[in-house]
C-alpha cells in the first residue's frame, strides 16, 4: 500500500492558514493564499468548508462575512451584501443556480486548518 507516498504528495498542495480554534463555529473568516482570497467556514458540527471569498453579485470580496446556516439541511452562507445564499458544499447559489463560486479542499492537520487551492 502506498499510503505514505500519497500523504507526502498531497501535503505539497496544502497551505496551512490558521488554527482550527481561530475559526468560530458557524462563522467564516477570510484567508489569503498567495494572492487568492479564500473564505473558510466552520459549521455547527465542526465541519470545514472553503469557498472563493468573491461575491459574484456585488463584486466585493465579502463572502466570508456572511451568515452561515442551512437550507434544507445543506450548509450555506448568505452574502452580506445582497443576501444571495450559496451552498458551502458545492458553491452553487441556491437562489440563482446559474451562478456558483469556486470551492476548495480543506482539512485539519494537528489542529491547523489547511486549504488546497492548486
Amino acid at each position: 500500500m502506498t499510503i505514505l507516498n500519497e500523504t507526502a504528495t498531497r501535503t505539497d498542495r496544502w497551505t496551512p492558514v490558521c488554527s482550527y480554534t481561530d475559526l468560530l463555529p458557524e462563522r467564516g473568516a477570510a484567508v489569503l493564499v498567495g494572492t487568492m482570497q479564500v473564505a473558510v467556514f466552520r459549521t455547527f458540527d465542526g465541519a470545514l468548508y472553503a469557498l472563493g471569498n468573491f461575491d459574484p453579485f456585488s463584486g466585493a470580496y465579502v463572502l466570508s462575512r456572511g451568515i452561515v446556516g442551512t437550507r434544507g439541511g445543506e450548509p450555506t452562507v448568505a452574502s452580506p451584501m445582497h443576501k444571495q445564499v450559496f451552498s458551502l458544499v458545492t458553491g452553487v447559489c441556491v437562489d440563482d443556480p446559474g451562478v456558483a463560486v469556486p470551492t476548495y479542499p480543506i482539512r485539519v492537520t494537528d489542529g491547523t486548518v489547511e486549504v488546497s487551492v492548486a
Partner: protein, 817 residues
C-alpha cells in the same frame, strides 16, 4: 418506596425524569459508573466539535440522590440490596437496571495496544482527541452507523481516515448493497478510504510500543496511529447474570412487556434489556421502555411491545434513511450515481402495500412515506420515489404513526389540534411530544396543521414555524438565552440568515448580553458583527452618536481629525450626524478607540435599533419655539440608544407646530404644544412614505416618555421581522384605537411588563463599541485575513472625487466569466 437505579445513561435519565414529573413519592438513588451525570450520548460527537460537557449533560431532577463514579458490583436479591465497588450497600424496594451496553472489541492481536480506543463515552473522546494530536492516520474498525460517525470525528481531528468493514458494503444494517455503494462514493469523495469485505489480521505496534499500523488478512498494512473499534455493542448484563436473572442466549436481560425481569422487584430498561425479543440499540425505543417501566412502578399498566427501528440520519453530510422492511416481493429502485442518490421501495407481491424503503443521498421518501408502511400505497411507486409526489398527510388514516420517535399517531395529533385549539407546531410538540426528538416529522406536523385549517403562513423561515412575535414570547417567557437552545427546543436545523438575526435582535431587546458575546456573535449579520455598516466595496462606515444633533466644536474637531488621519470620506447625514465612510475592518478598532477616548459612543447606524432623534433648535433659540425640543431629543436618544427592534427606529422632535424637524415622518415624532407634547406614531419616509398618526395630545414630559416606552416595547414584542412601525400599525387589528387601549388604558394588563422591560433596557445599556475595544476576544474578529492580520484587503482601492475618496469597483462581468 426506595427505588435504586444502576446506571445513569440517557435511559435512566428518562426513567427518573418521568417518575419525578408524574409525582413519584419515594426516594430515588442512582449509581452511575461514569464520573459525571448522564449526558446525551446520541450527540456525543458534537463534543469534539466544540460542545461542552455541560451542553450535553441532562439536568438531574431535584430530590434525586445521584452517586457518580460509583459502579454497582452485585445484587443480593434475597436481602434486596445492591453493593458498590466501594463496598457500600444500599437497600431497595425496586431496582432498575439501566446499565446500557459496552462496545464489542473483536479478539484481534494487538487490540489492547496504546492507541486503540472505543467510541462510547466522553472519556473515550478525550482519549482519542489526545492521541490524535501526534497522529497522522486513523482507522475505524466497523462501517456501521457508529463507525462512520467515529470516522467523521477522526477526519475532523485532522487524521487521514480509513474505515474497515467486514461485510460487503457500509452500513449493512440500514442499507442494501446498492445504497451502500452510493454511500461509499459520498464518503470517498470526502477523502476517507473505505475497505469493505475486509477483516483485520492484527494491529501492529511501532518502536514506541504504540499502534503504528493495521494489517488486513491479505497482508496489506494500513498506516495508523489511532484505531477505533466500532464493531457493535453488547448489552451489559453482568449484574443480572451475577444474581441469576434470566438473560438471553446472545445477551440482554430478559424482561416482560412491563419491562420487569424474572425477579418482580427488578426492572431492566434501555440497551441492556432484551425486550419483545430483541435488544434495541437506538435511543427512541430505550426511552419508550423507560416510560413503560416508570408507569409500571407507579402501578400503571403500560406495555412495551416492540418499536419501529426506522432510522434517518445525516452522516458526513449524506442523508441515509431506512424504514420498515428491508426486503419485499417487489421493489422499485431509483439510482443516480452521478448525483449520489439511491432510493428503493419494497412493496407486497400485489404491489398494493408499502413494506419499507431505503434512501441514500436524499431522505425525502422517509419523511413522506414512513407512516404508510403496512398500508396501501398512496400513489404509483415510481412517483413516490420522488419525495412526496402525490402524498399528503390527509391521505393518512388516523392510526398511522406520524412521529416514530415518540410514537404519536395522526389521530392523536388531530385530536390535540381540535381539542386544544393548537395553531402551531410548537403547540403540537408541547401537547403530544411529537417532533421533539429527531425532528424529521415536523414537516408532516405542519401539513397536518394546514389540513386542519390552521394558517401556518407566518413561519419565519424553514427553521421556525413561528412568527417573530411568537418567538419573542417564547424567548421572554421561557427565559431562553441562546439561539442553540431556542432552535433545539422550538425549531429545526441550524438556522439561516433570516432567523439568526431575528433571534439575535430578540435576545438583544431583552437585554441578554452584548451582541458579540459568545454564540450571539455568530448570529449577527456583518453589520452587527463588525459594529459598522458594510458599503458596496466591502468597507464599512463609522457613525458616532450625536444625540439630538447637538455637538461641541471640540468633538467636531475630533471627528475631522479621525477622518483625516484614516483617510475617510465624510458626509453629514439626514439624521443630523456625520458618516465616515471607507474604513477597512482592521481599521475599525483604532478609529473607534480615538472616538471613544474623545467621549463618543456607537451610533448604531449598523443595527436594527434606534438611529437618531432629530430635532430643531427649539425654544432655546428659535423665536417661535414653545418647548425645548433639543433637550427632549437628547433625553430620548439617550434613553432608547441601543434598543434593538424588528427594524430601524427613527424619531424627530419639533419645538412648535411649524415642524422643522419633520417629526411626522418618523416612527415616533413629537411636536411641542403650549401645554406639553403631541405624540405621533407610525410615520415613515422611504419607499412608501406615511405621515405619523396622532396617538395622544398635550402630554406632560413624564407621560410622553412612558407612552413612548410602551409603544416601542409593544412594537418590539409583536411586529414581524423587518416590519417598520408604519406597516405594523396598519396591520394592527383595531388600529390606532386598539393601540391606545393597550398602551394607555392597559386593556391587556401588560403595561407594567412593558415598563419594566424598558427600565431594564435603560439600566443595562452599555456602549457596544467601548465594550468591544476593551475586550481582546471581541477585537480578534477585526482582521481582513486571519492568516495575515496586518495585510489590508488588496481588492479595496479608492480614487479621488471632489477632494475625497471614492471606491474603485471591480468590473463585474470580467470576473463573472
Amino acid at each position: 418506596m426506595r427505588l435504586v437505579v444502576a446506571g445513569h445513561g440517557p435511559t435512566a435519565h428518562r426513567l427518573i425524569e418521568t417518575l419525578v414529573e408524574r409525582g413519584f413519592d419515594g426516594t430515588i438513588t442512582v449509581f452511575g459508573e461514569e464520573p459525571r451525570p448522564a449526558y446525551d450520548r446520541v450527540a456525543l460527537t458534537s463534543y469534539l466539535s466544540g460542545k461542552s460537557v455541560d451542553d450535553l449533560t441532562y439536568r438531574v431532577p431535584d430530590g434525586v440522590s445521584l452517586r457518580t463514579g460509583v459502579k454497582v458490583v452485585s445484587v443480593d436479591r434475597a436481602a434486596r440490596t445492591v453493593t458498590t465497588d466501594a463496598g457500600y450497600t444500599e437497600p431497595y424496594d425496586v431496582l432498575v437496571l439501566a446499565t446500557g451496553s459496552a462496545p464489542f472489541v473483536p479478539p484481534v492481536p494487538g487490540k489492547d495496544l496504546p492507541g486503540c480506543f472505543v467510541y462510547r463515552t466522553i472519556d473515550d473522546l478525550d482519549a482519542i482527541r489526545e492521541a490524535s494530536r501526534d497522529a497522522r492516520a486513523g482507522v475505524v474498525i466497523g462501517g456501521g452507523l457508529l463507525g462512520l460517525e467515529a470516522a467523521d470525528a477522526l477526519r475532523g481531528l485532522g487524521l487521514e481516515t480509513h474505515v474497515v468493514e467486514m461485510s460487503g458494503w457500509l452500513m449493512p444494517r440500514q442499507v442494501d448493497e446498492g445504497g451502500g455503494s452510493v454511500l461509499r462514493n459520498h464518503i470517498e469523495a470526502l477523502g476517507l478510504t473505505v475497505h469493505t469485505g475486509a477483516g483485520v489480521r492484527s494491529i501492529e505496534a511501532g518502536p514506541d510500543g504504540r499502534v503504528a499500523a493495521l494489517v488486513r488478512p491479505d497482508g496489506e498494512a494500513v498506516d495508523a496511529q489511532v484505531v477505533v473499534f466500532s464493531a457493535g455493542v453488547r448489552p451489559r448484563d453482568e449484574l443480572a447474570r451475577g444474581c441469576g436473572l434470566e438473560v438471553g442466549e446472545r445477551g440482554g436481560i430478559v424482561v416482560d412487556e412491563g419491562m420487569r425481569t424474572s425477579d418482580e422487584h427488578i426492572y431492566a430498561v434501555g440497551e441492556c434489556a432484551l425486550a419483545a425479543g430483541m435488544v434495541y440499540g437506538l435511543v427512541a425505543p430505550c426511552f419508550a421502555q423507560a416510560e413503560v417501566a416508570a408507569d409500571r412502578i407507579l402501578r400503571g399498566s403500560a406495555a412495551f411491545t416492540g418499536a419501529d427501528m426506522s432510522t434517518k440520519l445525516k452522516l458526513l453530510g449524506v442523508e441515509v434513511a431506512q424504514f420498515g422492511a428491508m426486503s419485499g416481493a417487489l421493489d422499485v429502485t431509483y439510482m443516480d450515481p452521478v448525483a449520489g442518490v439511491y432510493k428503493r421501495l419494497f412493496v407486497s407481491d400485489d404491489a398494493t402495500t408499502l413494506l419499507g424503503g431505503i434512501c441514500v443521498g436524499d431522505a425525502g421518501p422517509y419523511n413522506t412515506l414512513r407512516p404508510f408502511v403496512g398500508r396501501p400505497l398512496p400513489g404509483a411507486p415510481s412517483d413516490l420515489l420522488f419525495a412526496g409526489a402525490g402524498t399528503t398527510s390527509t391521505d393518512l388514516p388516523d392510526d398511522a404513526q406520524v412521529c416514530s420517535c415518540n410514537n404519536v399517531t395522526k389521530g392523536k395529533i388531530c385530536a390535540a389540534i381540535a381539542d386544544k385549539g393548537l395553531t402551531d407546531v410548537q403547540g403540537i410538540k408541547d401537547c403530544t411530544r411529537a417532533g421533539t426528538t429527531c425532528g424529521s416529522c415536523v414537516p408532516m406536523l405542519k401539513q397536518i396543521l394546514v389540513k386542519s385549517g390552521v394558517d401556518v403562513g407566518k413561519a419565519l423561515c424553514e427553521h421556525f414555524a413561528h412568527s417573530r412575535a411568537e418567538l419573542f414570547d417564547i424567548v421572554s417567557v421561557r427565559g431562553i438565552t441562546t439561539f442553540s437552545q431556542l432552535i433545539a427546543e422550538h425549531g429545526t436545523g441550524r438556522g439561516c440568515d433570516i432567523c439568526k438575526p431575528v433571534v439575535a435582535s430578540i435576545l438583544a431587546s431583552l437585554g441578554r448580553g452584548h451582541i458579540l458575546d459568545g454564540e450571539q456573535a455568530t448570529l449577527q449579520d456583518t453589520n452587527d458583527h463588525f459594529l459598522a455598516n458594510i458599503q458596496k466595496n466591502g468597507t464599512y462606515s463609522v457613525v458616532p452618536r450625536i444625540p439630538g444633533g447637538e455637538i461641541t466644536p471640540d468633538k467636531l474637531i475630533v471627528i475631522g481629525e479621525v477622518a483625516r488621519d484614516f483617510g475617510l470620506y465624510t458626509k453629514i447625514t439626514g439624521g443630523q450626524r456625520i458618516d465616515l465612510l471607507g474604513a477597512r475592518v482592521e481599521q475599525l478598532p483604532a478609529i473607534w478607540r480615538r472616538l471613544v477616548d474623545a467621549g463618543f459612543e456607537s451610533g448604531h447606524a449598523y443595527g436594527k435599533a434606534l438611529r437618531t432623534v432629530k430635532s430643531c433648535v427649539g425654544s432655546t433659540w428659535c423665536r417661535y419655539g414653545v418647548q425645548d425640543s433639543v433637550g427632549l431629543a437628547i433625553a430620548l436618544e439617550l434613553r432608547y440608544r441601543g434598543l434593538r427592534s424588528p427594524h430601524k427606529l427613527k424619531s424627530g422632535i419639533s419645538g412648535c407646530a411649524r415642524e422643522c424637524a419633520e417629526a411626522r415622518s418618523k416612527d415616533f415624532g413629537v411636536i411641542a404644544t403650549e401645554q406639553g407634547w403631541n405624540l405621533y406614531v407610525g410615520g415613515n419616509g422611504g419607499f412608501t412614505p406615511r405621515h405619523a398618526d396622532l396617538l395622544a395630545a398635550d402630554l406632560s414630559t413624564d407621560d410622553l416618555v412612558r407612552t413612548i416606552d410602551r409603544f416601542l416595547m409593544f412594537y418590539i414584542r409583536t411586529a414581524d421581522r423587518l416590519q417598520r412601525t408604519a406597516a405594523w400599525l396598519e396591520g394592527l387589528d383595531g388600529g390606532l384605537g386598539y393601540l391606545r387601549e393597550v398602551i394607555m388604558e392597559d386593556s391587556l394588563g401588560i403595561c407594567a411588563d412593558l415598563d419594566a422591560q424598558m427600565e431594564r433596557h435603560v439600566a443595562t445599556y452599555v456602549d457596544e463599541w467601548r465594550a468591544a475595544i476593551e475586550d481582546p476576544d471581541k477585537l480578534r474578529r477585526f482582521v481582513s485575513f486571519v492568516n495575515a492580520p496586518g495585510i489590508p484587503d488588496p481588492s479595496i482601492s479608492f480614487e479621488t472625487e471632489r477632494d475625497q475618496i471614492k471606491p474603485v469597483l471591480i468590473p463585474l462581468e470580467a470576473v463573472r466569466s
